[in-house]
């Protein structure tokens, strides 16, 4: 009689544990999805800032048409991209074109001195930082989620309910990226 109660108790305990682990895995997965969408928010912000930047720079940088056009093209590609791989590639490309633009503008102290430009540069700097931080947070969340999927006894429950590991936000292969051309 007592043995029956014990077995029942153990079963109840196991069921409670399974429920607890399942819930925590679900929460972590939602956390990962949320972190991904946060990156999107910052990326969109960057897209919105760039046209303004190009307009301001156009008046000063008359000899660096190529750099400016590369930025505009990269931005359009990033806005149009769909699918995670394409998006990642396009955003990385946009980052590198912006970097060339900043490097070029070092030669134009008039441009640097312009009040609007200074404000825009600060806005872009902070947006780049936020993109970096949101990617970092996303990767941290993915790391935690993937680790908890593989730990025992979570791995059994994960397998049962088909939880899949998430991908890290990584830089693409150098070969896949086309380096922007800067014409002088």
């Amino acid at each position: 009689m007592i043995a029956l109660w014990i077995i029942l108790g153990v079963i109840v305990l196991i069921v409670l544990m399974v429920i607890g682990i399942y819930n925590s895995l679900v929460q972590m997965r939602v956390g990962v999805q949320n972190a991904w969408s946060q990156i999107d928010v910052q990326l969109k912000r960057r897209h919105d800032l760039i046209p303004n930047l190009v307009e301001t720079a156009k008046g000063y940088i008359t000899h660096e048409r190529g750099t400016l056009e590369a930025v505009i093209k990269a931005r359009q590609m990033a806005v149009d991209a769909s699918g995670i791989k394409d998006k990642l590639a396009a955003e990385n490309m946009l980052t590198s074109t912006l970097r060339s633009l900043f490097a070029v503008s070092e030669n134009y102290p008039n441009l640097k001195a312009d009040q609007t430009m200074m404000r825009l540069m600060e806005e872009l700097t902070t947006t780049e930082n936020k993109i970096g931080f949101s990617r970092q947070f996303y990767n941290d969340e993915v790391g935690r989620y993937n680790a908890s999927l593989q730990v025992f006894p979570n791995n059994m429950i994960a397998g049962q309910f088909s939880f899949k590991a998430a991908d890290f936000f990584q830089l693409e292969d150098a070969a896949e990226r086309k380096a922007p051309e800067v014409k002088f």
Partner: protein, 594 residues
């Protein structure tokens, strides 16, 4: 030496939770023990003749009552302690919201970035404290809203990366909920200290009551009163012992006295025990916040630099803090605190871990040598060379040169110095160049032009106040981010209290050679005789804004350390500087001449 910030974070989180639980357990246990002690004293004295010396346990009923009382007391003190901590901090430190200036907008951006780095958890607001010391603090309320306050000095002296690391450290408190725990922790240990102090001060109060309560008995002998009874009544009871027991009234005195002594000692020991635990929690929180800041920014080097710079700068003993505020600061405001020392005493009673320990941990994480940090802080103790007095020095007019000014993306000019002065808009942030081939520079970086900025009318409109010496209208000028009044005739300036603090904290303006020479001459002259320190007299000048009352200002030196004569109005807090005095004061202040 642990290198991983995740390890440190996990370890310190565990330590904090255990200590916090232990603290509340000890806090309630001490109530029990004190009650037990008093109960035993009372019962033993009352029942001594019947049972002798016995140890009395508490009955279940007693235990429940004491438990109920202590829990209610704890809940009440916690509830009242957390009343609007944000508002309190704003008021006490005179915080102001961030304005449109580029530097403060950068701080606003930094706070936004840190919020993103925490996964957008948490609502945080940034404010500026009008002090030239370097420090940062953070508080949060029950709803999870946080406030991060940065001093003017920190905003000025830290680079963007260092400021970001320090803000991330403070944000870590808010996001992890440690700021809220800190409030309850500091309440817990203050209760016993307050009780101890209350009881210790009770005796002197009682003694003064005794003195006043003397009555004279009918036979002329002095009798003292005690709660309305005369000593005669006592004597009657003492003289006639009751059957089978000690008389009640002297027992009462003994019980009260013994209980009192017991409580004083018990509260003292309790306050020490709870304080040690609370300090341990505080130190763990700082270590954890350092680790979380590193996780957020991935930049331990900047955090180490920020700690180093703050530790060797003026950290804020001027800040209006009571001792219970210290844990919320990034670095302890008083440089002579335990935090800079090591050893057992500092291990027990410091609110922050030793500065060296923090820096070493972070440098180890960054794989950086400590020596690299030493170049960050310029030599603060400058040796002032002897400069001959003003009469022997020839100050020539700066040579006339031609300057072009960048205005609305167009180069205008060339102007000479007089014309620059006359420009409707000309401020230190604008770019200037001598000729088209020259590299443009900010006007603030050009030494020759700095003399202009004190005299130029930037906004052009009057303040509605007149100069105390020559009665001309004062014009509003923006100087180092603050609006001050300048007289076009005698070039004297009127500055209000908060504005003066900000001007001294900021270091935007470059001083002309004339100012430097005058400042050094003043310094060397005054270091020879010390009477200027205490000289204070009524000024012949009336305060421009209180003038309708004909209030005269006070003429004195700015402070015991700086021999610059100012006229100060004690009513409205404004200060009047004669020509050049403000820059001389700034020069002395910024260079910390000693």
């Amino acid at each position: 030496m642990p290198y991983s910030f995740t390890e440190i974070e996990r370890r310190e989180t565990r330590v904090i939770h255990y200590l916090w639980l232990a603290l509340f357990f000890v806090y309630d246990l001490l109530f029990f023990l004190i009650f037990l002690g008093v109960q035993n004293i009372t019962q033993n004295i009352l029942q001594y003749s019947l049972h002798g010396l016995v140890f009395y346990f508490l009955s279940l009923w007693h235990i429940l009552c004491v438990a109920f009382v202590s829990i209610v007391l704890t809940a009440l003190t916690c509830h009242f302690a957390q009343q609007d901590p944000l508002g309190k901090i704003r008021r006490i430190f005179r915080a102001r919201a961030l304005n449109d200036s580029s530097r403060e907008q950068i701080l606003a951006h930094i706070i936004e970035e840190v919020i993103v780095a925490c996964g957008n958890k948490g609502v945080m607001e940034g404010v500026v404290l009008p002090f030239s010391s370097l420090n940062i603090l953070a508080v949060s309320d029950k709803g999870g809203r946080g406030l991060i306050a940065v001093t003017e000095g920190a905003l000025e002296k830290l680079s963007r990366a260092q400021l970001e690391a320090a803000v991330a450290h403070e944000a870590a408190y808010i996001v992890s909920g440690d700021a809220a725990i800190n409030t309850t922790v500091s309440v817990a240990f203050t209760v016993y200290s307050a009780l101890f102090e209350g009881m210790v001060n009770f005796i002197p109060d009682l003694m003064s009551d005794y003195g006043e309560g003397e009555r004279f008995g009918s036979n002329g002998h002095r009798r003292t009163t005690f709660r309305g009874r005369t000593a005669g009544e006592f004597g009657e009871s003492v003289g006639a012992p009751e059957e089978g027991g000690v008389p009640v009234v002297p027992q009462f005195i003994i019980i009260v006295v013994l209980s009192y002594v017991f409580c004083v000692v018990a509260f003292f020991l309790a306050s020490i025990v709870t304080k040690v635990m609370a300090m341990a929690i505080s130190r763990s929180m700082v270590r954890k916040a350092d680790a979380v800041a590193t996780r957020m920014t991935r930049d331990p080097k900047s955090l180490a630099e920020a700690i180093y710079i703050m530790a060797y700068h003026f950290r804020g003993s001027e800040l209006p803090v009571g001792r219970y505020f210290h844990p919320i600061f990034f670095i302890h405001p008083s440089p002579s605190s335990f935090d800079d020392q090591e050893g057992t005493w500092a291990e027990l009673f410091g609110t922050h871990p030793p500065v060296d320990e923090r820096i070493q941990t972070l440098c180890a994480m960054a794989h950086v040598d400590l020596r690299e940090l030493e170049g960050l802080v310029p030599n603060l103790r400058k040796v002032v060379p002897y400069v001959p007095s003003l009469e022997g020095v020839n100050i020539s007019e700066p040579s006339v040169s031609c300057w072009q000014v960048l205005e609305n993306s167009v180069w205008k000019g060339p102007y000479d110095l007089a014309q620059l002065k006359g420009l409707p808009v000309f401020h230190p942030g604008m770019y200037v160049r001598r000729d088209p081939e020259d590299v443009p520079r900010k006007a603030a970086d050009v030494a020759e032009l700095s003399a202009i900025f004190t005299a130029v009318m930037l906004l052009g409109h009057g303040m509605g106040l007149s100069c105390p010496s020559c009665k001309r209208e004062l014009k509003v000028v923006v100087y180092e981010g603050e609006q001050i009044g300048v007289c076009s005739g005698c070039l004297g300036t009127l500055v209000d209290e908060a504005g003066l603090r900000q001007i001294l904290a900021r270091e935007e303006v470059v001083f002309s050679e004339e100012i430097k020479v005058k400042a050094r001459a003043l310094w060397s002259h005054s270091s020879r005789n010390n009477e200027w320190r205490f000289r204070e007299q009524e000024s012949p000048l009336g305060c421009p804004s209180c003038s309708h009352d004909q209030k005269k200002m006070i003429r004195r030196s700015y402070s015991g350390d700086y021999p610059v004569d100012i006229d100060h109005c004690n009513l409205c807090g404004r200060t009047w500087f004669d020509r050049d005095e403000l820059e001389i004061l700034q020069f002395l202040y910024e260079n910390r001449l000693r």
